[in-house]
Structures are given as structure tokens and as C-alpha cells.
């Protein structure tokens, strides 16, 4: 595992554990956790809260509930006891590959100008998840946020006013933050970004293009 410096917030981990995040955020959180044991362990603690709460709320099951469940199990046929194979060594973790239908080579990129490409992933409409391809040294236009933006680095690195983000690092940006991410010069940068509201671009051109790009 690479050394990850930028982690998920407690608020996001708890909301993911409780199941109250939009799908695009769930995807981003699940992808980061696949790369980050520190956040996986913190999530485990929040899941334990859910487990403790589960102990409280009992409602009697139907009389034949157990029998019906055993029938359900038997109808499911032979239970496989195989453990899942160890993770494949691709660039993208499993949750993301499930949305793309393969690793990076399966991504259907769309150019959005200045060498930057994106691929919007199919999630529910309450938030948007996209892969961003930023050539080494290129900048994403200066922008602010109307809601929350999560940016997870999958390859390469980017820098903005606050810090440098490398593979596995996640940046959590909110309404108070304006930034202009620039891809590090070492390699082209690939990120997974999730937003629950449109971004606010400072310059006119990106603002005009926004409706077409669905950013």
C-alpha cells in the first residue's frame, strides 16, 4: 500500500456507515477504503456503532419466519464456500471497476478542453461521479463549490493551494473552498471526483461550457 496522507472525514465515514450518502459519494468512499486500511479501520468502528444499535430494536418475526428463511437458503442451491480471489493488480480498485466494466483501458473518455478528459459514471442523480484525466502539468480551471466535492487520486498527483495529493489521497472540499488543482509534472493524473452540486467556475468560458459538460 502506498503512503496515504489525506483521509476521509469522520462525518463522511459515519454517513457511509449509516448508509445516508448519495451513490456517487458511496462509490468514492468505497474506492478510497479499498486503498486505505486506516480509513477501513475507522469505518469498522462506525459500523460497530450500527451493530450496537441493532441490538435495541426488535420486532417479532412471522411465525413461519425461520422455516421460510431455511426454504430461501435451500432454494439458493449449493452454498459456495470459496473465498474471493486476492485483488487483481490493476490501477483501479474493485468498486470502481464494477462501474466501468474493466480497468483503465475500458474507460470511455470525453475531451473537455485543455487536454483534460472526463468520463461520467452511471450513478443515481443526487450526486455525480466522474473520472478526470489531467495531463501532467495541466490545470483544472479555478473553481469553488456549491456543495461537497471529493477528489480521489488514482494515478499521478495534483497540487492545489492547500497541499499535494498523491495516489490514494482524497481531498474533501466544501462551500468555503476555492481552488485550482494542477496536475503534478511527473505523470498524467487520473482522479475520481464526486460532487453533490455544480461547481462555481470563476472564468466565463468554463461557466458557458458547464451545462454541456455536466460539471
Amino acid at each position: 500500500m502506498t503512503q496515504i496522507k489525506h483521509h476521509l472525514t469522520d462525518a463522511l465515514l459515519m454517513a457511509y456507515s449509516a448508509g445516508s450518502l448519495p451513490e456517487a459519494f458511496n462509490l468514492t468512499v468505497a474506492t478510497h477504503i479499498s486503498l486505505c486500511d486506516e480509513c477501513r479501520a475507522r469505518l469498522g468502528a462506525f459500523d460497530a456503532v450500527g451493530g450496537a444499535l441493532l441490538e435495541q430494536a426488535a420486532v417479532p418475526m412471522a411465525q413461519d419466519g425461520l422455516a421460510a428463511t431455511m426454504a430461501l437458503i435451500r432454494a439458493g442451491g449449493e452454498t459456495t464456500r470459496e473465498r474471493p480471489a486476492p485483488r487483481n493488480t490493476g490501477v483501479l480498485p474493485a468498486p470502481l471497476r464494477d462501474y466501468i466494466g474493466g480497468d483503465l483501458e475500458a474507460v470511455r473518455w470525453r475531451p473537455i478542453g485543455m487536454g483534460v478528459k472526463q468520463a461520467i459514471l452511471p450513478t443515481s442523480k443526487d450526486a455525480t461521479a466522474r473520472l478526470l484525466y489531467i495531463p501532467a502539468g495541466a490545470a483544472v480551471p479555478d473553481h469553488g463549490h456549491r456543495g461537497t466535492e471529493l477528489t480521489l487520486v488514482l494515478q499521478g498527483a495534483f497540487l492545489d493551494e492547500t497541499a499535494r495529493f498523491g495516489p490514494g489521497d482524497i481531498e474533501v472540499a466544501n462551500e468555503e473552498m476555492d481552488h485550482m488543482p494542477v496536475a503534478d509534472i511527473g505523470a498524467d493524473c487520473i482522479c475520481l471526483a464526486a460532487t453533490d452540486a455544480p461547481l462555481r467556475f470563476r472564468a466565463l468560458m468554463p461557466r458557458l461550457a458547464q451545462p454541456f459538460l455536466r460539471i
Binding site: 469522520d10 462525518a11 465515514l13 459515519m14 454517513a15 456507515s17 449509516a18 448508509g19 445516508s20 450518502l21 451513490e23 458511496n26 462509490l27 468505497a30 474506492t31 479499498s34 486500511d37 486506516e38 477501513r40 479501520a41 475507522r42 469498522g44 468502528a45 462506525f46 459500523d47 460497530a48 456503532v49 450500527g50 451493530g51 450496537a52 444499535l53 441493532l54 441490538e55 435495541q56 430494536a57 426488535a58 420486532v59 417479532p60 418475526m61 412471522a62 419466519g65 425461520l66 421460510a68 428463511t69 431455511m70 430461501l72 437458503i73 439458493g76 452454498t79 459456495t80 464456500r81 473465498r83 474471493p84 486476492p86 480498485p93 474493485a94 468498486p95 464494477d98 450513478t123 443515481s124
Partner: protein, 217 residues
């Protein structure tokens, strides 16, 4: 897992069926005393039942887990907005999943209640919100069949302590946490101030993950 820890962990890895069965049966006899002395052992007994289901397809062990957890899953779903019929159906489905995926349960990283909660939560999202629920990559045990027994016991005990800490929280705070987990709404401000001792469980899971990564190398 290295040789030393394998030696220190005989209960599950060397003679699983017999040992677990004994514990699971003893527990049934003393069910009425559970509240006092046996309370500490309850989570470990559920873990033993899981091993019986996984290793022997033991329906009696499943029946015990079902009678305790299925009504709780049903209650959880009803509090999340499902009607009784739907909650019953989903609770049965969750318990069937527990049977089918028993080999994926890792007691060094979760109590049985916690694991069932995660299955029920995912089904709630499927059914009530009709959205996919992306989950992190699975981290199976392998090639070693079992986590370290000492890690398992420690995690189970810490989960019980968390349950007690939750029960003794001030009413107002406990209700806030319940809302966050049951009502499917965003309550981001709660996370920073749960007032619960989550650090120990986190450290325990982190340790189990480190061992797992080491074993997978």
C-alpha cells in the same frame, strides 16, 4: 499468521467444530442468566455459531442466530421506513445472506451484530432507495483459514463495551446517533461528537488488517 500465533489460537483453528458446538450448546442452557455473568461472552458465542454454520451447515446454530437477530433486523428496517411485510421479507433475506456468506465473516474485524448490520444496511439501500451500494474490495482470509483467536476475542469484547457505552450515553445524544443510523438522513455534524470510545475498536481493526496484509504477502 506466524507459527507462534497459530499455537496461541487453538479454539477456532485446531478443533473448531467440537469446541464451538460445546460453547454454542452451553449458551443455550444458560440463556436466562445471560444478562449477568454471561453478558461478556455473548458476542463470542455468536461468533462460535457463525463457525458452526460455515464449517458444518449447522441449522441449530442458525436458528439461534435467527431468533436473536432476525427480529432486530426487522425492527431496524421498520424504523427506516419499511412496512411490516417488507421488513419481514428483507429480514429473511438478510439472514439467508448470513448463511450463504458465512465464510466471509471475519471476527477479528467485526462482531456478528456489526456484520449483520452492514448486510441489512446495504439491503435497505437496495430496497428503499433503489440505488446500488458500492462496497470496498473484499479482504478475505487466506491462505490461512482463521484470524488470530486473541484478536477475535479482543474485538468481540470491545464491541460489547461499545454497546454498553452506547446504552449509558445521555438520552439526547443517543437519540441523535440513532437518527443518523436509522432514518436514512444526512447528519454530518454528529460524527465528531458521538462521545463513544471508537478509538480502541479502530486500533483493534487496524491491527487485524495489518496481520491480514502480512498473511496475504
Amino acid at each position: 499468521m506466524d507459527a507462534t500465533s497459530a499455537e496461541a489460537a487453538p479454539a477456532l483453528s485446531l478443533a473448531p467444530a467440537a469446541r464451538d458446538k460445546a460453547r454454542c450448546m452451553t449458551k443455550r442452557v444458560t440463556e436466562t442468566d445471560v444478562a449477568s455473568t454471561d453478558a461478556n461472552k455473548e458476542n463470542e458465542d455468536w461468533v462460535a455459531c457463525m463457525a458452526l454454520i460455515r464449517d458444518a451447515g449447522d441449522e441449530a446454530a442458525f436458528a439461534r442466530l435467527f431468533s436473536h437477530f432476525a427480529p432486530r433486523v426487522k425492527g431496524f428496517l421498520m424504523r427506516s421506513g419499511a412496512d411490516a411485510a417488507l421488513a419481514e421479507e428483507v429480514a429473511q433475506d438478510v439472514m439467508a445472506t448470513l448463511w450463504r456468506k458465512s465464510h466471509l465473516f471475519d471476527p477479528a474485524r467485526a462482531s456478528v451484530a456489526t456484520w449483520i448490520f452492514t448486510i441489512a444496511r446495504n439491503r435497505r439501500i437496495d430496497v428503499l432507495r433503489r440505488a446500488r451500494r458500492p462496497e470496498p474490495e473484499d479482504l478475505p482470509w487466506g491462505p490461512e483459514p482463521e484470524p488470530d483467536q486473541a484478536d477475535t476475542m479482543a474485538l468481540q469484547q470491545e464491541s460489547e463495551q461499545l454497546g454498553r457505552a452506547l446504552a449509558t450515553l445521555p438520552e439526547k445524544q443517543r437519540v441523535l446517533i440513532e437518527k443518523a443510523y436509522f432514518s436514512d438522513l444526512s447528519h454530518s455534524e454528529i460524527a465528531e461528537q458521538t462521545g463513544l470510545p471508537l478509538g480502541t475498536i479502530k486500533s483493534r481493526i487496524r491491527l487485524a488488517l495489518d496481520r491480514l496484509r502480512h498473511a496475504m504477502k
